[in-house]
Symmetry: C2
Amino acid sequence: MPLIEPVPDVRSLDLLHSVAELGSIRQAALRHTMSQPAASMRLRSLERALDLQLLDRSHGRAQLTSAGVAVVQWSEEVLEGMRSLLLGAQAVRSDGKTHLRVVASMTVAEYLVPGWLNRLRASDPAIIVSLQMGNTQHVIEVMLRGDAEIGFVEGRHAPSELGSRTVQSDNLVVVVAPSHRWARRRKPVSALELSTTPLVVREAGSGTREVLEGAMSSRGLTLTTSVELGSTTAIKAAVASGAGPGVVSRLAIETDVQDGRLVVVATEGLLLERSIRMVWSKKRPLSSTAKRLVRQIDDSSSSRRPVQP
Amino acid sequence: MPLIEPVPDVRSLDLLHSVAELGSIRQAALRHTMSQPAASMRLRSLERALDLQLLDRSHGRAQLTSAGVAVVQWSEEVLEGMRSLLLGAQAVRSDGKTHLRVVASMTVAEYLVPGWLNRLRASDPAIIVSLQMGNTQHVIEVMLRGDAEIGFVEGRHAPSELGSRTVQSDNLVVVVAPSHRWARRRKPVSALELSTTPLVVREAGSGTREVLEGAMSSRGLTLTTSVELGSTTAIKAAVASGAGPGVVSRLAIETDVQDGRLVVVATEGLLLERSIRMVWSKKRPLSSTAKRLVRQIDDSSSSRRPVQP
DNA sequence: TAGTGGCATAAGGAAACCTTATAGCTATGT
DNA sequence: ACATAGCTATAAGGTTTCCTTATGCCACTA
């Protein structure tokens, strides 16, 4: 889903911001070290792109219209984001001794690792972490190749060349759109009912899918699929737009449930648990930075407590 | 303070984002309806602008480097901001009846409104909503000027020209970094202890701050501040990196607590509640779209259910 | 009424960008 | 080893965008 054209130029937004602050196109042009006509033209083309009158030029100096004020506000988020991107790029460039390479499978990388890394960065902003993501197989390959110090996978695959340890548990849940009839249902969905309902799931070979099929086959049941998608995000989008029940990691849908996009349906008779394992190379000892990360993770899972104390 | 040149083009960031998702420059080019060489050149010039190697092209298909992953992450904020800007501009442009202008104070706008609007859009994709944010004062001004149909503020300010009604309640909580000693504490923090501890809080005049000071003064206590910051996000970042206890809205920290960046500390003896109020102009009746939003909100606060069914 | 600061338009040249055509490279399968 | 398929880079040519300088008009102010 690319942005809708025409996309305004960020520097034009920046310029508009200066106009709002300084009250004149001329001053803004000076601040941005460009000629006044250039600034004037930029702003005009911005107005053309947004199809909005942003400035009122009929009173000598340029005055923001109400639409202009609104756009300035919205552009603040964009500018803030751009600033941190530029700053971040600079940091990566001037880089790093305390460099930690992490590779994780999708769900962990998307929903768990960011929290860990934020804490790690908070404890020492000089630490630079690069995160690579892929499926379980990919994680193993990267680790064996020595292209990352530490990895995370879902499920219980434990190749012999690599050490591994469980760091957290996760479980799968059934979700539906708020408009789906199951959203208002009180009784849990039985294993049998679930196995005969077409579900939106990940493609065969993914960790999520394996757990689901394993749980069903242990009860002598088989999975019925409605759509098979390649990412958790795709599943969430499909389910939210009415594609029927889907199965995803609980970790992946917390905010969607809070925002009312998805509703969790209780199930019974199926063990949809799986562990999240850390893997490392037995050949090389963990780097000190990697050790810190491990300590952070252990701390956070033991000291975690509910929001309601 | 203009942006530091060179500023990368947002469409290039968008393109990079697609490359990350689709795994190939060619596919990304297709999605963005441009030729493959054009995409290739855009990405190359993005790399030149940032002075970073973002893609590894040595294996047939393009693979993100660690720097590439980092840039994609940062660019997400930029793209998100640009998307809401474009959406907002579209809303301001179209004067039709499917157009709803909402203005909300920071906490509500960031943590509550997105969920409501998503549900509203789901119920009727034709509805176009523009969201503006600011402090309580700003919300009132916009409403009085008639630049929005409906507004949301924290606290109980009720100017006479505007109607208002409580739609939800919120409360403030004390949070600390997981490394802080209070994180492991069992006993609730007393009002007295809290009032004598330097806290990280919002600046004077903010709704959050007013509630906190009000609650303390009703017990004959006064607030001791350690740092005063201008946004909830800033407070969270400061607290997470060890600046001592902070006070923020519960709404704002749910995911941070889940991710282990912050820990909630129980308190006793202070009533840190506040209501979130909807405000509208008494002069004009609510538009039909606004009424739908109100109904959505009422529904969602009554039918909301916990993640664990 | 003159002056000052500010914005718009015009013209010319430089730079950026896109498209089509083409060639080289990598992985996969026979 | 060979061939095919899919992907990316380079080249050439044309269009569009953007900037700068020069100049005129307009609105406030003294």
